[in-house]
Point group: C2
DNA sequence: ATACAATCGGAATCAACAGCCCGCTTAGCG
DNA sequence: CGCTAAGCGGGCTGTTGATTCCGATTGTAT
C-alpha cells in the first residue's frame, strides 16, 4: 500500500532512507503534516527526489512515521493490561498518552484525524490500539474504577479531546489540568444522570442542515439551494442582523 | 480595521454585499476557513473582485461573519446571567453553545484559534464573551452547582474541547454525549483531588524538546542540532525501531 | 581500476489560491 | 434618454508546495 522499497540494496540508499525517517520524525513532531516536504529533504540532507524514491507520497511517509509511534503506545497499553491496579493503569495510560502526544504535533494530527486514526497503518495499528484500550477500560470498569456507562469510543474521543485541550490551554493553564478534569468525569462518583444515547438516531450530514439563526434541524430539499432558516421569523431576524449597521 | 465599506451608495452594490455575506456564512459554516474565496464569490454570483471591494481580505470577511455569530452567543449569555437557577443557566449555556456551534465549521475554527478567539472583532466580542461567561460561572459556583476549583480559562478550553469532541464523535456516538461527560466533570461531586496548578512553571516551547523515545524533557543546547534523546538507551531503542524491518 | 546500474539532487512541472488590475456595465441623476 | 462614475467580472500575477524527470554521481561486483 505504501510502495516503500524497504530493503534497498545499496548501502548509501539504506543510509539515506534512515536519515529521511529521522528528519521526518523531527519535522512532523514539530509542525505536523504541514511541514513542506522540501524541508524534510533538506533536514535529511537529501534531495526531494530521494524522498520520493523511498515513499510514494508525503502522506505515506507521514503514516510510516506515525504508525511507528502508535505501535509504541499500543505496546504500553498491552503492558498495562495485566496491571494489579486496573483503575490506576487506565487513568495512568490516559495521562501518559496525552502527555506524550502533547509535544508531538504529528501524533496529534494523526489521532485527531476524522474517524479516529482508522486510516492509519492499514488498520492494523488502529485495531490493536482499540483492542488494547478496550481491555484497559473493561478491567477498570470491572474493578469499579470507571463509571460503567462509557464505552471505548467515548474514551477514544475523550483522549483526543484532552490532547486538543491541553494544547490550546497551554497558554492559560498548567499542564494536565484538562486531562485531570476529564478523568474526574470518568470516575463513578461523577455519575449524576444518564448519558445521551442512541434513542433517536438522527444522522446529520457534515454540512450545515440547521436553521442559521436558531439551529433547528432542517429538512433537506431539492429546490435549488438548501433551506437556511426554519421559518420567516428566523430569516427575518438573521436578515436584520446581517444588514450593515449603518444602512 | 476591516476597511469594509459598510454603506455602499448604489443599490446593486449593497445587494451584492448582502449576497456575499450570505454566501460566506453558508460556505464558512460548511467548510471553515478553508473554502477558496472564489467559491464564495461564485456562490454569491459575483466576481472575486467584488468580494475584495467589500472586504479587504478573506480573513476580514471571515471575521465579520464569525463576529456576528459570536455576538448572538454573548447575547444569550447575558440573558442567562440573571436566571433564577445559576447552575442550570451555566450548564444550559454550555450545551447550547456546543450544540449550536457544532454544525458551524466556521465557529469551531474561530473558537479553537490559538489563544481562544482573542484575535476576533478587535477584542470586543472576545472581552464581552469572557465577561459574560465569567459571570455565569461565578454565579453557578456561588450556588454550589459547579466545583470551586475551576476558572474561566478552564471552562473556555473545555467548551472548545467539547466542540472538537462532539464533531469527531459524530460517527461513533450520540450527540451531546461528550458535553454531558464534561459537564459531569464540573459538578462538585466529581471532585476527587486537587487539580494540577501552576506550582512549578515549566514553560515548554511549541517545538519538540523531549526525548523522542520516552518523552522526558530535554535541556536545550546550542551544539548544532538539538538533542533528541535523553540517553543512549533511548537512542538505541529508537534506532532499532527506526531501522527497516527487513534490514 | 572499470563498467554499469542503482541512486542522487534539484530544476521543472502542475495545481491551488489569495489578491490585484483594468476595460466593460449599468444604476441613478438631470 | 444620455451621461458618468461607481461597481463589476474574471483574467493575471505571485507564491507555495507536491510530485516528476533526467543528466550527473557513485557504490559495487569483477
Amino acid at each position: 500500500m505504501d510502495a516503500d522499497p524497504v530493503g534497498p540494496r545499496r548501502a548509501d540508499a539504506r543510509r539515506n532512507r534512515a536519515r529521511i525517517l529521522r528528519a521526518a520524525l523531527e519535522a512532523f513532531a514539530a509542525d505536523g503534516m504541514l511541514v513542506p516536504l522540501d524541508d524534510i529533504a533538506r533536514r535529511a540532507g537529501v534531495g526531494a527526489g530521494t524522498v520520493y524514491r523511498n515513499f510514494s507520497t508525503k502522506e505515506a511517509l507521514f503514516k510510516t512515521v506515525v504508525a511507528d509511534r502508535i505501535e509504541r503506545i499500543v505496546e504500553e497499553a498491552k503492558a498495562l493490561a495485566t496491571a494489579e491496579d486496573p483503575g490506576g493503569a487506565f487513568y495512568g495510560f490516559l495521562e501518559w498518552v496525552v502527555e506524550r502526544a502533547k509535544f508531538n504535533h504529528a501524533l496529534c494530527d494523526a489521532l485527531a484525524l476524522e474517524g479516529g486514526m482508522a486510516t492509519f497503518d492499514s488498520e492494523c495499528a488502529e485495531a490493536e490500539f482499540a483492542q488494547a484500550l478496550a481491555t484497559l477500560l473493561a478491567n477498570a470498569q470491572a474493578a469499579g474504577a470507571v463509571r460503567a456507562d462509557v464505552n471505548v469510543a467515548d474514551v477514544r474521543t475523550l483522549m483526543t479531546g484532552c490532547l486538543f485541550m491541553e494544547r490550546s490551554h497551554r497558554a492559560t493553564g498548567p499542564p494536565g489540568r484538562m486531562t485531570a478534569l476529564v478523568g474526574a468525569a470518568l470516575r463513578p462518583s461523577a455519575v449524576t444522570g444518564p448519558l445521551p444515547s442512541h434513542n433517536e438516531t438522527l444522522p446529520v450530514s457534515r454540512n450545515e442542515t440547521r436553521c442559521e439563526d436558531c439551529g433547528t434541524p432542517l429538512r433537506t430539499r431539492r429546490t435549488g439551494r438548501p433551506a437556511r432558516f426554519c421559518g420567516p421569523a428566523c430569516r427575518q431576524r438573521a436578515h436584520r442582523r446581517r444588514t450593515p449597521k449603518t444602512g
